[in-house]
Amino acid sequence: MKQIFTPLIKGYLFSNLFAFALMGITKLFIPSSDSVLIFSEFVIIPFLMGIISTWFWRKRELRSRRLMWYSCINVFIAIGLSALFLKEGSICLLIVSPLLWTFITAGAFAGQKMFERSNNTLNISVVALLLLIFVADSLSQHNYENEVSDQMVINAPVSEVWQHVVAFKRIKKENKYWLFKIGMPSPVESTVDGYHLGAKRKCIFSNGYTFDEKIVTYNVNQNLTFDVTHQPRDPEIMGHIDILRGQFLLKDNGDNTTTLIGNSWYRLYVFPVWYYDIWAQSITRNVHLRVMEHIKELSENK
């Protein structure tokens, strides 16, 4: 048994066990945290995982290179377990992995320094402080909404552009955005059951997922605004962001061209915002651009 549970294996085992136990306990006692993944889960827990692993490895007096490799293996184990138990999709794990790499390795080196000094009071204080931050963060309200706006000029009159804004034929063009290329669903088609206020609109994605929408502003040749009434729950990004509302604004430039503005409002369920909002903005922007470029092509080729 001792041969199986070597310090190396214990480092991997107990750091991951700790992480999943802490997340499980949080979900159990703070039900409101069920659908939200907070800052501490991506920063504090990985950092503590690094510290815990080096506690088991402290007697091996690891050199930096080896400690780094061991920590990298720990990152892969954590990612694998997240896929298995948290049912996260591969793109989601790809997005989260830089945070895990950063903070698990940082925790490991911090742990190495801590255990070299053998100052138990200091070490316990550091761990207690990190746990305190975790508890405070878990008990805090997390709510973040943002808007992304993009615009482009189309060489066609507004009346022509408007026809393709409300609904459009299937997009056949190849994806340019790298996340779409590696499998993230991209928008391919939009359908509508009527050209009026209150009509039901559908935005269909490449994997067949459909966003149900309801038109809430219908000013012909000017403004199409729709609320998203239902969206798929997907292991990928879909579970961590809600698209709340979409909008197309059309401006007649007076020279037979139209400025098309695409706006989207979304709510994030993953924190820290300083990290995930970069991804959310990038993905939303590329959804806009794919649709708007298609509308431009349809309008200009008429």
Binding site: S64, R65, M68, C72, T102, F103, T105, A106, F109
Partner: protein, 150 residues
Amino acid sequence: MFSFVIRYFGFLKFVPGLALVFDNWLKIHTLLTRPDLLDWLDAIETEADKWENVTISTHKYGGTQFNYGGKEIGHIHSNGLLDMLLSRSIKQQLMQQGRIQDHHSFKNTGWISFYIHTKRDAGYALHLLQIGHERLSKGSVSNICLPEAY
């Protein structure tokens, strides 16, 4: 890349912990591109740790800091960049050897920078730290000549 980040995002070093995170990224990058460097940095740390009254700590802007009696001798970032404060005259003499540079941020001061690219460079970095140690421990440096091995 390092110079770009320091130049345009250097102001972020005042965000607590961010410089340490950045240094950790440097460490990951070093592991993937020049893993030997991590061993040389360890060797420098082990050797310097044996010197009289020398302590090793984490530099406030990321990296390993070498101190003599509470005063900083110098620090090495995890991309192998050694930064040290010397007197201007010692700096002048070392500049003539042609291996060190002006500090990447503080020009026209006693600060110097030296990039460790090879094992031989790691030896030279240790030699520079010895000069810094001697300067702080004895108040002067008797000989800054380069040992032949370096």
